[in-house]
């Protein structure tokens, strides 16, 4: 009987280990950003403190998301420094007129409709409420993509169980719903899906 318990326990342990440790590594593949962009350096050197200075709204209220290369070209029209990533940015993207193919951590699928205008302008949410604080990050975060669904890992969040996730970690539908429920906002499916 004790041998059975041991063997059973061994099986249990192997499965738990595989599930909690090996599985997440196998499920997500890591991809490098095309250019190593550091929020902190840019904030310090340029004195930008407001996210909206680069991540701006268009005139019609649509959120423009990541700044286009035109914005980068303001300073990086030619090499500043000698780093490899600088060379990539300037030679490969800015000079060739090709937009930098940034990997967007918070990219939602096509069926989601999310209006930054409603959340930021009307409801007054801060960027960090959903995105976490990026402004002072001094290293490039690894972009992890789910091999099955193709989603960025930020959507599920970094906690595998999602039970102990920090605020701003996770952008699944249930996260939107939680926030809406807390604020007593009811939008229905139509509110967020297209």
């Amino acid at each position: 009987m004790s041998r059975n318990s041991l063997v059973f326990g061994f099986g249990l342990a192997v499965a738990l280990l595989a599930g909690w440790v090996a599985f997440p590594r196998a499920l997500y593949s890591k991809r490098p950003q095309p250019v190593e962009f550091l929020h902190k350096t840019h904030a310090e050197k340029s004195g930008i403190t407001d996210c909206a200075q680069c991540h701006a709204f268009r005139d019609d209220g649509e959120f423009a998301g990541l700044p286009a290369n035109d914005t980068c070209a303001g300073c990086h029209s030619d090499h500043i420094g000698t780093t490899a990533t600088e060379a990539t940015l300037v030679d490969h993207y800015i000079k060739s007129g090709q937009e930098t193919p940034w990997l967007v951590y918070s990219r939602q699928p096509a069926n989601v409709w999310f209006s930054h205008a409603i959340h930021v302008r009307r409801a007054g949410l801060a960027c960090a409420d959903c995105h976490g604080s990026y402004g002072d990050s001094d290293q490039v975060r690894v972009y992890e993509v789910n091999r099955i669904s193709g989603y960025s890992r930020d959507i599920w969040g970094h906690s595998m169980s999602r039970l102990d996730r920090a605020a701003g970690d996770g952008m699944k539908m249930s996260d939107c719903e939680d926030c809406h429920r807390r604020r007593g906002i009811e939008v229905g499916c139509l509110g967020c899906h297209q």
Binding site: F8, A15, G19, P109, N111, G150
Partner: protein, 558 residues
């Protein structure tokens, strides 16, 4: 220690129990279902900022104004321009799918010589050689445009001929050319629909995109639809219950092929019963003859004649070239009077028609504005410009022309319009392949020709100089109030429409010597056949197939 089968069993049970408490099954379940929501083979719409721009549809001679939604540099949606005084926000159904046409599988991507890939330089060389060897014929579908003047002057230069393939609506106006003096070409005539109170249509598909889609439908829906005593009486004379007949105030069902007889009968009643003041030659046909031929009773014809004139002005419209109907209009006094056939623009030259025989030509160049199903009556070498390959028609050289919104061009008055208009269709999308319009092709052969852009610029300057008419853009501005020619041209480049002032006098001198004896056989044609594009938008093909609303046009079902 020996591993027994039992151990494996127990181990498996433990592993299974462990799996339940690991994220594996649950996360996989979730991810796999998310995968089904984002299958990688499902196309994704484009990203990018959305802009709404304006232009004109150049796929048929009507030149309707359209708003084009652009995303990431591609047109992603089309809508009518409500401020446009001609279309009044309406478009034909096909227009709602035109933004997909440029990717149509039958899009011409490269020059083809006898169905084999070739190059522009070879095509130019071949055409230059043909020009040197004999007379050439150039066929145009939208006469009067800037590009047309390049085509016409090239033909003149080469001692060849310039011919036009007229739209059905304009061809219906051809019989009036012989009636009015001084001679006014059919392309300078129009219908004053807005002021007509009774419209008698002899099989013209008035509610089916006839004339300018939107012009008549809007008029009808405001003044005739669903009213028991409409302000505009639409009487449809047709052998079958067509879409227009369905919706008309009165549908007069006659025997196929008896429209001329009915027109003659009606004219006789009108004159004999003194229902009209005009007197004119009548057909030899008696009312009872007409009744016999049309399968209507004699009294029905008389009733119809009385109903027609009960609410003047009356305008008879033919669906095709039909001198009898022109004669009837003459009897009714509708030629050159308000609510009738009116002169739209200054008299210009008469065009040589494309369907006349083309003898002794060395080569025929067909512009992309000519409907695909036009086949020149010749065995000369054919250079055909087209954006799409329509399949069956003979062409020695197939030359890829600009597709939807890929060309900067100008748009003249639509065929049935009662007023003169002018618009400039800006190029909104970059061409995806090496494409040239016929005018560009000819300019490349002989660079002495002014290019269409300069001609458009010139025309804008000319129009501004006259200080007449009104510009319909974001706002309505009389030309007289504009500061400069540059401002005028800038407005037009944003697809504003210039509309001439209404002619002061509509009257025309006209005369009918004798009742026309015969007229060409009826040519039942689908309205979409007037379209210049060789293929239909895929969504229109879908409409044809998936709804019972329309029968698929025979050659365009692919």
């Amino acid at each position: 220690m020996k591993v027994t089968r039992r151990d494996l069993f127990v181990w498996g049970a433990g592993a299974a129990a462990g799996m339940v408490f690991s994220p594996v099954p649950w996360k996989l379940l979730d991810d796999v279902s998310i995968w089904t929501q984002n299958w990688p083979w499902i196309p994704q719409p484009p990203h990018g900022p959305i802009e709404v721009k304006q232009s004109f549809c150049t796929l048929c001679p009507q030149g309707c104004a359209m708003k084009v939604k652009m995303a990431g540099g591609c047109p992603v949606g089309v809508a009518g321009v409500s401020g446009n005084p001609v279309t009044r926000g309406a478009l034909c159904p096909l227009a709602f799918g035109v933004h997909q046409l440029n990717w149509h599988p039958q899009r011409l991507r490269a020059v083809r010589h006898k169905r084999v890939s070739s190059s522009w330089s070879e095509a130019r060389a071949a055409f230059a050689k043909a020009c040197g060897e004999g007379p050439i014929v150039i066929v145009d579908g939208r006469p009067g445009s800037a590009a047309s003047s390049v085509l016409a002057s090239f033909a003149e230069e080469q001692k060849g001929s310039y011919r036009v393939a007229l739209s059905l609506e304009t061809r219906a106006l051809l019989p009036y050319e012989a009636m009015v003096s001084p001679v006014i070409p059919a392309s300078a005539l129009g219908y004053d629909l807005e002021r007509a109170q009774t419209i008698v249509s002899f099989g013209a598909p008035l509610l089916d995109g006839w004339g300018i889609p939107g012009r008549f439908t809007r008029l009808w829906s405001e003044r005739a639809a669903g009213m028991s005593e409409p302000q505009l009486r639409l009487i449809q004379i047709e052998d079958s219950l067509s879409r227009t007949a369905t919706r008309a105030w009165r549908w007069v069902a006659i025997r196929p092929g008896s429209k001329n007889a009915l027109a003659a009968g009606l004219a006789r009643v009108l004159v004999e019963e003194h229902l009209v003041s005009a007197r004119g030659p009548l057909s030899a046909l008696t009312v009872s003859d007409a009744a016999l031929q049309t399968n209507l009773s004699e009294s029905a014809i008389r009733d119809l004649a009385r109903t027609m004139v009960a609410k003047p002005p009356v305008l008879a419209i033919a669906g095709d070239e039909r001198p009898e109907i022109a004669a009837l209009n003459f009897i009714l006094g509708s030629v050159g009077s308000p609510g009738g056939i009116v002169r739209r623009s200054k008299p210009t030259e008469k065009y040589e028609l494309a369907n006349a025989a083309i003898p002794n030509a060395r080569a025929v160049l067909i512009d992309a504005s000519v409907p695909w199903d036009y086949a020149p009556p010749t065995d000369a070498e054919i250079f055909r410009f087209a954006a799409w390959d329509g399949g069956s028609n003979r062409a020695d050289w197939l030359l890829p022309a600009p597709g939807f919104l890929e060309e900067f061009t100008d748009v003249n008055s639509a065929p049935t319009s009662a007023v003169e208009t002018y618009g400039v269709a800006p190029q909104l999308t970059k061409p995806m392949f090496e494409i040239h319009s016929a005018a560009q092709f000819l300019s490349a052969i002989d660079s002495s020709f002014t290019n269409p852009e300069t001609i458009i610029h010139q025309r804008c300057a000319d129009l501004f100089r006259e200080r007449a008419g009104t510009v319909y853009g974001q706002e309505i501005m009389p030309v007289a109030e504009l500061d400069s020619a540059q401002k005028f041209e800038a407005e037009l480049s944003k697809a504003a429409l210039w509309v001439a002032d209404a002619p002061k006098s509509a009257s025309l001198l006209c005369e009918l010597k004798e009742w026309p004896s015969t007229s060409p056989a009826e040519s039942p044609r689908n309205w979409s056949a007037a379209w210049a594009a060789a293929v239909l938008p895929p969504l229109a093909t879908k409409l044809y197939r998936e709804s019972s609303l329309r029968e698929a046009p025979d050659r365009r079902t692919a």
